[in-house]
Symmetry: C2
């Protein structure tokens, strides 16, 4: 059981943008910072922009910034929007499990997922804020 | 976020064995019943036997049966044993995320996973018991 890379990277991008409230950021520097694929990150950023979590500023000095106040970015809402929460086959449209109509597992897993999200609902991006000096330290470290 | 097929199939195998308390079952019939890969199922059955959830009976009339009372098979324990609960990269040994030491996300996801498992801990295999007549009905349906 793990979050998709898409959701994981979405949270990381928002954390990075939050750590630089005084300037715009861009995809290349975020990819360099986390040492992750730029092309994958571009898709994540597109989704974050489309959903309003990020705001793009056009132009030569353009870039990205948070589209919402960090205290308004609820983790549970974010994960629900980005993550396919199909715990087992019968949660999805492509379900072919023969016992579906007679199986109680789905309800139990649904209840457990609700409890999982209820915890995330208690936190916002603001609660995850990283120390600016640590961000700066990591940025300055050689990547080799 | 989804359970691995390994865990999903493990639960299905136990549900099937529970539905046939009066006789031994075997891998072929379980694969036929669920219409899933026999070879994948064989690995799952091996793991269930090794952990004591299933008991193998050798011989010409051999087969498999539950190794524990259904009321003793706790869903939370089973999922914890079968499922890699590495929600994001930093939960695993292969973690390379640069912000790990300064990131609060791990604790939040750990708390959420605990809540997820706490729900599963409230249920046993016995609680998921299927109606025997429905199992029989599904078994009799033509699979085309």
């Amino acid at each position: 059981m793990q979050l998709t890379q898409h959701t994981d990277y979405a949270i990381r991008v928002l954390l990075y943008a939050q750590s630089h409230p005084d300037r715009l950021v861009n995809i290349t520097e975020i990819a360099d910072f986390y040492q992750i694929s730029r092309s994958h990150l571009a898709k994540v950023v597109a989704a974050l922009t489309q959903t309003g979590y990020l705001q793009g500023v056009r132009g030569k000095k353009g870039g990205l910034k948070l589209g919402l106040d960090p205290a308004e970015i609820n983790l549970g809402t974010l994960v629900t929007q980005f993550e396919p929460l199909n715990l087992v086959e019968c949660f999805s449209d492509k379900n072919q499990c023969v016992i579906t109509t007679n199986c109680r597992l789905k309800n139990v897993l649904f209840e457990a997922t609700k409890a999982f999200l209820a915890v995330l609902n208690q936190y916002t991006l603001h609660d995850l804020k990283m120390q600016p000096d640590v961000i700066q330290f990591i940025s300055l470290k050689p990547t080799n």
